[in-house]
């Protein structure tokens, strides 16, 4: 007896929203990136779950790409956080707010 | 069909000439531009004599100097370079070329910096204006129509008076919005014509619309309402250019700030674009709507006449006086157009020409006086007739021309408009409305006479610290030419009125039914 797919959806939504919550409430750039990872993985949950639901592997395969991409994104992200620190002496994302309006 | 006709020659000469003038050194840019602009004058004068058009350009008349080249295929619609003249556009074209040359000559004195840019832009503007009056493909017409704004923006913005930046941007944005609104209206019509139309050729569209029954619903709006909406949008758009109360406020600012030659072009030709477009679009293509809403339209016309004149009465700045009176004068055109009578249309078109000449003359004269006195305020000058007899003499003549003195062009135009409007079967209570509109001729006399009394006559005094002497010949010469033209047209209106009538009469040929009134 397979679990109702809806509950996977609920789980992924929860993970997604936790990621969003992290982004919204925390100022640390690294935490920001981590939260994004959570959101990407929420998508992966869906992909895998619905891969099973639909009986094709498209979603599963795609989830692998998502992971790879997450890695690439973090690479660039870390790079930027580095230069951010060099310029602003901090990795608080709210500190880098010289340009606005 | 020949591709290189005289209209192409006009466009080419002005555009290439503009380029040449841009690159010319300041010292002789003015002379060069004037020399170049004589070519269009000569060509258009020749065109006038060789004019062989008949009927209305949009209603299947024979066009003079027509040429067509395919331009762009846009979706289903074919845009073309299509130019040609009829009895309405020929005089306006002539007005443009003549007035440009005279304005260029009148620039020699006041324009003393960045001259090559100034004269280049003036020629660019001439090119655009020639395009506006000769184009018969809507999109191409629109290109020229909007292209006029660009030189105008710079001409006011760079060489204008103290508030030139404000005036320039106001003019720019105001008229641009108007164009966009008008565009939506026209496109709604084109879409309403549906598959029967696959071009933006104005004659084709006009004939399809006048044939009746070709409109279909667009986006759920039924044909009758569609044409009403389109009419309203187009009227609103063109009204800004005319300008009609209450969308006129860009005009006084633009006029006051613009240097004299630019004011001349603005009042002399640019305002006519609005009424020309009204005639070509609203009153030709959607005649039935115009007739159904004649009461409202004529109300705008009369309001412009009286209100504009009242405003002129309250002004102290000579240029502002003339500017507001332009609003008043253009109101007559609206009244004439909406009369839907031969003399109404003809007189309105004739008024475009005559007001072009007379307001140009007025602005130039004010400019000549300004060149010497460096003030235009009524209270600052008096008795200037003592020092500049010829300029003042022409001023007086111009002012009387403006007041509609017989045997000057203005009287012919206004009389014909009144004659047309009085007998109109479209305007409700036509005699009464005409009578009210005519009261403008009293107010115009009031403010012009008042201004003349204060500035030209009395004991000589000047508030500014300048030594006033007689105006140089090249300042006065354009005035003389214009005055001569005004008188010639006043004595013999038929010189242009014949071809105008020939072109406007077809507008009245078929009675159209089914216009929806706004209320």
């Amino acid at each position: 007896m397979a679990i109702q797919t809806q509950y996977f959806l609920l789980l992924s939504a929860a993970v997604f929203c936790i990621g969003v919550y992290g982004i919204l409430t925390r100022r640390n750039a690294l935490v920001f990136l981590m939260s994004v990872e959570l959101m990407l993985n929420a998508a992966n949950i869906n992909l895998v779950a619905f891969s099973f639901h639909h009986g094709n592997l498209t979603g599963q395969v795609f989830s692998l790409f998502t992971m790879a991409l997450a890695a690439a994104e973090v690479a660039i992200g870390i790079g930027i956080v580095l230069v951010l620190y060099r310029n602003f002496e901090d990795i608080d994302v709210t500190k880098a707010a010289t340009m606005r309006w | 069909m020949p591709v290189a006709g005289p209209i192409e020659a006009l466009l080419a000469v002005t555009l290439v000439g503009a380029l040449a003038v841009f690159l010319a050194p300041d010292e002789w840019a003015g002379k060069l531009a004037t020399a170049i602009s004589l070519v269009p004058v000569a060509v258009s004068a020749w065109m006038y004599t060789a004019f062989d058009g008949a009927g209305n350009a949009l209603l299947g008349g024979d066009l003079a100097f027509e040429s067509t080249i395919g331009w762009v295929q846009l979706g289903r619609y074919e845009l073309a370079y299509h130019v040609g003249l009829d009895g309405i556009s020929m005089p306006l074209l002539l007005l443009t070329t003549v007035l440009t040359t005279l304005a260029l000559v009148s620039s020699w004195t006041p324009i003393d910096e960045r001259q090559s840019q100034f004269y280049g832009l003036m020629l660019l503007m001439e090119a655009s204006l020639i395009g506006v009056f000769s184009a018969l493909d809507f999109f191409m017409w629109l290109v020229f129509w909007e292209a006029v704004l660009i030189p105008m923006y710079f001409l006011i913005g760079v060489w204008g008076g103290p508030r030139r930046k404000y005036a320039a941007i106001k003019f720019f944005v105001y008229t641009n919005v108007a164009t966009l609104i008008m565009f939506v209206g026209f496109m709604a019509l084109v879409f309403g014509l549906g598959d029967s139309i696959s071009t933006f050729d104005m004659p084709e569209i006009a004939q399809a619309l006048r044939a009746g029954g070709n409109l279909s619903a667009v986006a759920g709006i039924q044909p009758a309402n569609l044409s009403l909406i389109a009419f309203t949008l187009m009227f609103a758009g063109f009204a800004v250019k005319v300008p009609v109360f209450p969308v006129h406020t860009w005009l006084p600012d633009a006029h006051v700030e613009a240097p004299t030659p630019v004011s001349v072009m603005l009042a002399g030709v640019l305002l006519k674009m609005g009424t020309y477009a009204l005639l070509r679009f609203n009153f030709t293509m959607l005649r039935e709507v115009a007739e159904a809403n004649a009461a409202i339209i004529v109300a705008f016309g009369v309001l412009s006449i009286i209100y504009g004149a009242m405003l002129a009465l309250a002004q102290q700045d000579l240029k502002r006086i003339v500017a507001y009176s332009s609003i008043s004068s253009m109101g007559y055109v609206i009244v004439g157009l909406v009369a839907f009578t031969p003399h109404g249309f003809g007189g309105a078109t004739f008024q475009m020409i005559s007001h072009g000449l007379i307001s140009g003359l007025m602005f130039m004269t004010v400019g000549v006086i300004y060149n010497e006195t460096h003030t235009r305020m009524v209270g600052d000058i008096s008795g200037i007739a003592d020092r500049m007899p010829w300029a003042v003499g022409i001023f007086v003549a111009a002012a009387f021309g403006y007041m509609g003195l017989p045997f000057m062009a203005g009287f012919a135009a206004e009389y014909l408009i009144f004659q047309g409007a009085f007998a109109s079967s479209v305007i409700p209570a036509a005699p009464l409305v005409t009578g009210v509109a005519m009261f403008g001729i009293v107010i115009v006399a009031g403010y012009l006479l008042w201004a003349m009394q204060r500035t030209l006559f009395g004991e000589y005094s000047l508030a500014t610290d300048y030594d006033v002497s007689r105006a140089p010949v090249h300042d006065v010469a354009p005035l003389v030419v214009l005055l001569a033209l005004v008188i010639v047209l006043g004595v013999r209106p038929g010189l242009v009125y014949q071809m105008i009538q020939d072109a406007v009469n077809p507008l009245l040929d078929t009675a159209l039914q089914g216009g929806v009134a706004l209320w």
Binding site: - | H248, M310, Q315, H343, P406, V442, L449, Y460
Partner: protein
């Protein structure tokens, strides 16, 4: 065969040529352009006389002439009227042409003395103005349609403006010029509506039908109106009767303005700021007559509307009295003459309104002569007085300038209406016609005529009084100033015209001595016959501008008939005696008050009325108030409204947009966390709207 009629256009063209020559070449001529004007007006006079002789049948069979000569605007489409210029010559025209060109010539000559000899500058401009005026006036006179008449009517207004404002360096003349043009423009506004209306209604503005070989090829608008009235047509939703009245009243607006009738008379006294020859020519003899002439010209039209006639008569009668009373207290020579002019034109209007067509034309003729004379005489005095016009500074000039005095006296007697001078005959006829038509006409029309008559009669007394007050103050008594003791002598060019006119003023009344004719049965009412036509049947019926036709209309349409309460002859004599004795009474009162060596002002005796009269019944004040107290504030208010509201909305839209923009950019707080929050919120919002509420679930 080139007859006189082929040269009629040249009557106007010659002075026009003089205008051009004077304007551009005047400064190179010894008399600064006067030569051109004199030659041209002399030529015009000759041609006019030739024309008049032709009309009279002296050079052949009597004839008239009416042709369109120039198509000004051709109406191509159906229903588009064609506007033409043409020439109409009939007895009225011919008479007026002679008057105008004669006085123009005399004034040109007089100007040599008044302007050239006084060393004025700007004379080419002056003579150009005179030339243009003469041309326009003459062309107005022979206009064959209403539009052409209007066009030249306006042109004479322009010339009036230019000539009043001739001394532009002073403050007064430009202001007076402005006022003159503006007030007449106000009248012309109605006139123009009338013109447009006539053309719109009848499709033509012809005064008289154009005939060809005895058949009418183009009908005139009075005739068409007549037919419309008979056929009971209606125009623009009005019955023909009402509409004709409306049109007539509209045209009357121009008449009232130009002929300085109440309430648009206020410009004329101010117009005296202009050079005196100009006053003589334009503001006394000719241009001011244009209004009256116009009514006479289209008399066939006015006769169709009793209402219009009554209004004309009342305006005329009232103006005659009203202006005469104001003339009583004036201190300046030309002011007295100005009010007198207004008053005299009132008589003409009275005559026209009450069916006295011949009387009106008669008075027009005599008045042109004697008023021109008076103005030129005044001009002569002014030269002598070094341009001081105040009568209280004069006195005793009688002995020092006899030519001026005697001619002036001739004019004054004519003006006062003392037998046998010209004014007596014409004024008497005016009053007589008003009287008998007042008794004879039915209903309120007759009453109106009688009221108008009463006012006109009363004015006779005042006329006699102010005229001789003027004469006594100016010429009699002791000289009151040094200048008056030693006035500047005037030359032949002043005396010549004065003499011509002085003789005219004494004799011109002889052309229509109606009372004598009636009493003696002699046919010496030449003017009456002139207007009636050479034959018993009058002018060919087709012309429709003949007196015969008018008399028919008066009887048939307007219901104006003569009635003689005391019998025909007695009424005639009583009427003449009453007016003559009133005039004499006026003269005698003036004599008793002012004919003494050291006259003093008696105006204080008038009490409160003095202030009223000195202020011209506050007519100027209320008109100035209308202009400056009502119109200007209204214009200012409109300006405020325009700047504040109309333009304010435009600027407001711009400000609001920019303010909105400055708020919108605040959304971009610079803090990336906030961005994320906004993104999340908008995601939630979109989901709610388009998924939850959008029927997705």
């Amino acid at each position: 065969m080139a007859g006189a009629f082929d040269f009629v256009p040249a009557i106007a063209a010659l002075p026009l040529l003089a205008f051009v020559v004077s304007l551009f070449a005047g400064q190179y001529m010894p008399k600064r352009g006067a030569e051109a004007g004199i030659l041209a007006t002399a030529g015009s006079l000759v041609l006019s006389i030739w024309t008049a002789l032709t009309v009279a049948g002296i050079t052949g069979s009597a004839t008239s002439y009416n042709e369109n000569l120039y198509t000004w605007v051709a109406g191509v489409a159906d229903g588009a009227v064609t506007l033409r210029l043409g020439v109409l010559v009939d007895p009225l025209t011919a008479l007026m042409l002679v008057i105008v060109s004669l006085i123009a010539l005399l004034v040109h000559v007089f100007s040599l003395g008044y302007m050239n000899d006084e060393g004025e500058t700007g004379l080419p401009r002056y003579y150009a103005g005179l030339g243009l005026f003469t041309a326009s006036m003459l062309a107005f006179v022979f206009s064959n349609n209403l539009l052409m008449a209007f066009m030249f009517f306006e042109l004479v207004g322009l010339c009036s403006y230019l000539l009043i404002g001739f001394w532009f360096r002073e403050d007064g003349p430009p202001s007076a010029a402005k006022k003159a043009f503006l007030v007449t423009r106000f009248g012309d506004y109605f006139f123009l509506i009338g013109v447009v209306g006539v053309f719109a209604t009848f499709g033509t503005g012809l005064f008289a039908p154009i005939t060809e070989g005895g058949t009418v090829v183009a009908e005139s608008f009075p005739q068409m109106a007549e037919h419309a009235l008979e056929d009971g047509e209606s125009f623009f939703g009005y019955s023909a009767q009402t509409w004709i009245t409306i049109l007539g009243m509209l045209v009357l607006g121009g008449v009232v303005g130009k002929s300085a009738q109440f309430p648009l008379h206020t410009w004329l006294p101010d117009a005296m700021e202009g050079p005196t020859p100009v006053s003589a020519l334009i503001h006394a003899a000719t241009m001011v007559a244009a209004g009256v002439y116009l009514v006479a010209r289209m008399y066939g039209f006015y006769l169709l509307s009793p209402t219009a006639l009554a209004v004309i008569a009342l305006i005329g009668g009232f103006t005659a009295l009203f202006a005469a009373t104001m003339g009583v207290v004036k201190q300046e020579l030309k002011q007295v003459l100005a009010y007198s002019t207004i008053s005299q034109y009132g008589y003409m209007m009275l005559a026209l309104g009450s069916g006295g067509y011949v009387a009106a034309v008669f008075h027009l003729t005599t008045h042109a002569i004697f008023k021109a004379l008076l103005f030129l005489g005044a001009g002569s005095v002014i030269i002598a007085m070094h341009h001081n016009e105040n009568m209280w500074d004069m006195g005793g000039l009688k002995d020092r300038m006899p030519v001026t005095y005697w001619t002036f006296l001739s004019g004054s007697l004519a003006l006062a209406g003392i037998v046998p001078f010209a004014g007596f005959w014409s004024k008497d006829e005016v009053l007589f016609e008003a009287l008998i038509h007042g008794f004879g006409s039915t209903g309120t029309l007759g009453t109106m005529f009688l009221v108008a008559y009463a006012m006109g009669l009363l004015a006779v007394f005042f006329t006699g009084f102010y005229t001789f007050r003027m004469v006594y103050l100016t010429f009699h008594g002791d000289a009151r100033t040094d200048v008056a003791r030693d006035p500047e002598p005037v030359g032949w060019n002043v005396k010549g015209p004065l003499s011509v006119l002085g003789i005219g003023a004494a004799t011109v009344g002889l052309i229509n001595m109606k009372p004598i004719a009636d009493l003696t049965g002699l046919h010496i009412d030449f003017l009456h016959k002139w207007l009636l036509g050479p034959e018993e049947g009058g002018w060919p019926a087709l012309t429709s501008t003949g007196l015969h036709h008018y008399e028919e209309l008066m009887h048939n349409v307007a219901g104006i008939d003569p009635a003689y309460p005391l019998g025909e002859t007695t009424t005639l004599l009583v009427s003449a005696l009453v007016s003559l004795s009133l005039a004499l009474a006026g003269v005698l009162v003036a004599r008793s008050l002012y004919n003494e060596p050291e006259p003093v002002e008696h105006t204080d005796k008038l009490g409160g009325a003095k202030t009223l009269l000195m202020h011209n019944y506050y007519q100027d004040e209320y008109q100035v108030w209308l202009a400056q107290g009502v119109t200007v504030p209204l214009a200012r208010a409109a300006d405020k409204f325009d700047q504040g509201v109309v333009d304010g909305v435009v600027n407001g839209i711009s400000s609001v947009s920019l303010f909105t923009g400055s708020r919108f950019r605040r959304i971009q707080s610079g803090v990336v966390t906030n961005y994320a929050a906004l993104m999340t919120l908008s995601l939630v919002l979109l989901l709610v709207v388009f998924v939850v509420l959008g029927g997705g679930v």
